[in-house]
């Protein structure tokens, strides 16, 4: 086996030095009746060449060469080549969690930069070193708000990503966190009157997404006022991180749960992605996940360490803020490098391109006779909800024939939008692709 650095002679000499007669002797504590005396029924040992051709075959069995208008929480963006060049350095790729600070300064400093950039982009005072993804991050943010406020109820906007809401529900049901769902108005924004009625002095937090699942930018300030008036915290989930290049950060929020997948992380059939929680500094002790802080060594040299670990499970066990251990360090590094590549000007330019393409596509598709856009009464960033004269299913079939994957149908999540689909553009979407989709659907 090519990954194993031992010759048969090494093995027998080592056994001799241990004083064991055979390798089986080392496994003798496993009761005989449970020892596996046969080969595992799994594929035979493959050469590297065979492995690559197996996966090539699978890659070919997926969509290839299709134009795509899919978004809904997973966004295709161009990935600058230096990102993979850097994250594939063995020193980053094959290092462990940086508990040993003296030999982990590379990862630690990069995470400190990540935390700083996330603060800067989200308008929050502190950020952690990443969570699994946006869906679990939002659920953890709610649990955090419950700890901060000592209250146990949550109010969740219906315009939060439906799968994020499902994950939240899974987490909340055993924590005794009853949740109330608040709908949206014809603008696509949270129904403020309904929200006002739902938030009480028992509410720990209000969870919204902005830009929301429909691409609409919420009135964060108004929602924050409603929440704060009753002493509840406002959590803003952000699924399309590129929006922060053009959309005002939700500074009125108490906690922001960001999915940073847009920052150079491949859509990769849904994962791994990169969640992160950012918040006001006063909540730091209730923050889940790893935090990197600045420190000095005995010579006064600046360096970085994992800090405030008394919040974490390896110290606090059942009293920890969360059971999270592993985070998304390597993908957080991808995001860090991506944010550095685009930086102060580039993220803005990128966001504006996305805005322009989305605007063009929305107008062009809405101009198809019988088509209409939903939620036009409020500003929209990255996605739009489109209703066509034909059903989403028929539209999808027509488009697929021309190698176009249209927007994702909304019916399975929103009954009231069963004739509509959610379309997304990024800087990778071309005018040609948009025009082609319009042409197919106009016929």
């Amino acid at each position: 086996m090519r990954y194993l650095p031992k010759s048969p002679a090494d093995r027998s000499e080592m056994l001799r030095e241990i004083g064991a007669e055979s390798i089986d002797q080392l496994f003798s504590t496993i009761p005989a009746e449970y020892q596996l005396r046969r080969d595992l029924k799994i594929p035979y040992q493959h050469s590297e060449q065979e492995i690559i051709s197996y996966f090539r075959k699978q890659a070919e069995a997926n969509a290839n060469g299709y134009a795509s208008f899919l978004g809904a929480g997973a966004y295709r963006h161009y990935r600058p080549v230096i990102i993979d060049a850097l994250v594939q350095r063995g020193e980053f790729l094959t290092s462990y969690t940086p508990y040993q600070a003296e030999i982990s300064q590379g990862t630690l400093q990069a995470m400190f930069e990540f935390q700083t950039m996330i603060c800067e982009l989200t308008g929050m005072e502190i950020a952690n070193a990443s969570m699994y993804d946006g869906s679990t991050g939002a659920a953890e943010a709610v649990m955090m708000a419950v700890r901060v406020t000592g209250r146990s109820r949550a109010v969740v906007a219906k315009s939060v990503h439906p799968e994020y809401r499902e994950v939240f529900h899974t987490y909340a049901q055993h924590q005794g966190i009853p949740a109330k769902l608040v709908g949206y108005t014809e603008t696509g924004r949270v129904d403020l009157d309904a929200l006002e009625k739902s938030v009480t002095d028992k509410t720990a937090c209000v969870l919204i997404q902005s830009p929301n699942f429909f691409g609409t930018i919420e009135d964060v300030k108004a929602i924050a006022e409603i929440a704060h008036r009753k002493g509840a915290l406002l959590i803003v989930s952000i699924a399309e991180a590129v929006s922060l290049g053009a959309v005002k950060p939700p500074v009125e929020a108490d906690i922001v749960s960001l999915e940073a997948q847009s920052f150079a992380i491949p859509v990769s059939y849904g994962g791994p992605y990169c969640g992160v929680i950012a918040c006001k500094e006063q909540f730091v002790r209730q923050m889940p996940g790893r935090l990197v802080g600045e420190a000095r060594d005995k010579h006064g040299r600046r360096g970085y360490v994992l800090t405030l670990s008394t919040r974490e499970q390896h110290i606090r066990r059942e009293k920890a803020t969360s059971n999270i251990c592993t985070n998304q360090a390597l993908v957080a590094l991808m995001a860090t490098i991506y944010m550095t590549v685009y930086g102060r000007e580039g993220l803005k330019e990128l966001a504006l391109q996305k805005l322009a393409k989305t605007q063009y596509a929305a107008q062009a598709l809405a101009a198809i006779p019988g088509a209409k856009l939903h939620f036009t009464g409020a500003p929209r960033f990255h996605e739009f909800v489109l209703e066509l004269p034909i059903s989403p299913k028929r539209a999808a079939a027509k488009l697929l024939k021309k190698k176009i994957i249209g927007g994702v149908a909304l019916g399975s999540w929103y009954r009231e939008l069963k004739n509509a689909s959610l379309w997304c553009c990024t800087e990778l979407t071309t005018k040609e692709q948009i025009d082609a989709a319009v042409e197919v659907l106009s016929k």
Binding site: L4, R11, G19, L26, F27, T29, Y34, L36, D39, P43, Q45, I51, K57, Q58, E60, A61, N62, A63, L70, D84, E91, L93, T94, S95, T97, P98, Q100, A101, E102, I103, E113, Q115, E120, E125, A127, T136, E163, E166, G245, V247, K248, Y269, G270, G271, P272, V284, L291, R301, V305, N323, I324, T326, A329, V331, R344, G346, L350, A356, Q359, S412
Partner: protein
Amino acid sequence: MDNDGKFIGTPQKASTHVSQDERLIFEQSSPGKKAYKLPALDVPAVDAKVLLGEAAREDLGLMPEVSEIEIIRHYTRLSTWNYAIDLGMYPLGSCTMKYNPRVNEVVSRLEGIADAHPYQPVELSQGSLNIMQLLSECLMEITGMDAITLQPAAGAHGEFTGILLVRAYHESLGNPRRKILIPDSAHGTNPATAAVCGYQVQNLKSNPQGMVDLEELEKLVDDDTAALMLTNPSTIGVFESEIHKIADILHAKGALLYMDGANMNALVGKTRPGDFGVDVMHLNLHKTFSTPHGGGGPGSGPVACKKILEPFLPTPVLCTREDGTLGFEFNRPQTVGRVRAFYGNFGMFVRALAYILANGPDGLRQTTEDAVLNANYLRAKLEGIFELPYKTATLHEVVFSDRAQARNGIKTGDMAKRMIDYGFHPYTVSFPMIVAGAMMIEPTESESRQELDLLVDALKQIAREAEENPQLVLDAPHTTRVSRMDETAAARKPVLRWKAPALATPLQPDTAAKEW
């Protein structure tokens, strides 16, 4: 080196070399530098103020402005401050720091795999689904289980999912029960998970051999016990040889056996948890199945279970459709619900499957045997130098204690720091908690005999230093860019982000020199 003109020692490495003094990226930023170029916009440009109104953002504040070469240098320099498997051995107990094959990285980046969108039609996702299906089949065969979900994002997330299955199972019988039993040797995620799932944690003491005390277990298990969360082999590397009795005691009271699969690298191809009575378990693909740790993630924590727990698996569940193609089943009335958006850390599935294919049945068995051989070799070579608190035979890892060295004031953490000077990552320090001053060593199969001998030499030398020159050990490490950090001060007044100098106290110039 040279400090105000005074020579203070023989330098082995210049502390002022540019690569050793890399500043934060923000400190290299200046307006107008760029590392990107977007294609020309092919649709009409828009005015953000018109489209977004009040929601339009003015400025991105401190986001860096640097060029491409600066980024390459910056992160390359930072990378050189990291230790990594590619540089040497990581004998971290219970972490299974094995070689991360490069072909895994190549296949996970193939177009068609990396670009697959989670909502593209299943007809156009058969490749992704085939990968998930084959990985699921392999993992079920390896664990001896009947069903699996790949959705959990990491080990602790797998524990969460597994305990939710346990809870849903008991609820379906009318009572979720209140307690989860956890041995005192367990990883901290176990009790944290039980708490997150709404269970009370009941501590189970280990017997003098470091194993589950059957009498104690018998006493504690009652009709209110939902499950025992057991790591097998345990965190001291010992296989619970009476595992079937443990399972029987639990099952007799209707409780379930959860296995933390963190130490599965000791078992693959040699025995199967499903055969020895485990009802539900998680795997860490970033341990046993070689996906890279990446400085702390991403992981992946599939959960395998017996038939009785299958109805409760998170949705969606991978299924074969009527036409023989693969798809997802969403409508499962008894499901615990989703634990993550989409289907899990798919990129890790690709890597883990590539690892399984590279090994095959013979390779996986040999891998396990080599991992156990390596650990036992280290145990034999180091016994006598360090105290071995549990004499029980061990599999893939061994836990020593610092008792002999502590008499001289040298603790496990000090010796761990000194290992760095010899070119090794420290072993796991002070865990498991049942061993005072624990030194937990797991070499994995990825080490050659030569590497193991080098580690043995280093540890012997450190033990000698602890006797003869304890200060040398107490001050370690001596060869790193920074020495031991003041973690207490860092936690007292946490600085968790960089601020522009105008807003923060000016940085002190880094004039400190090495003293060795």
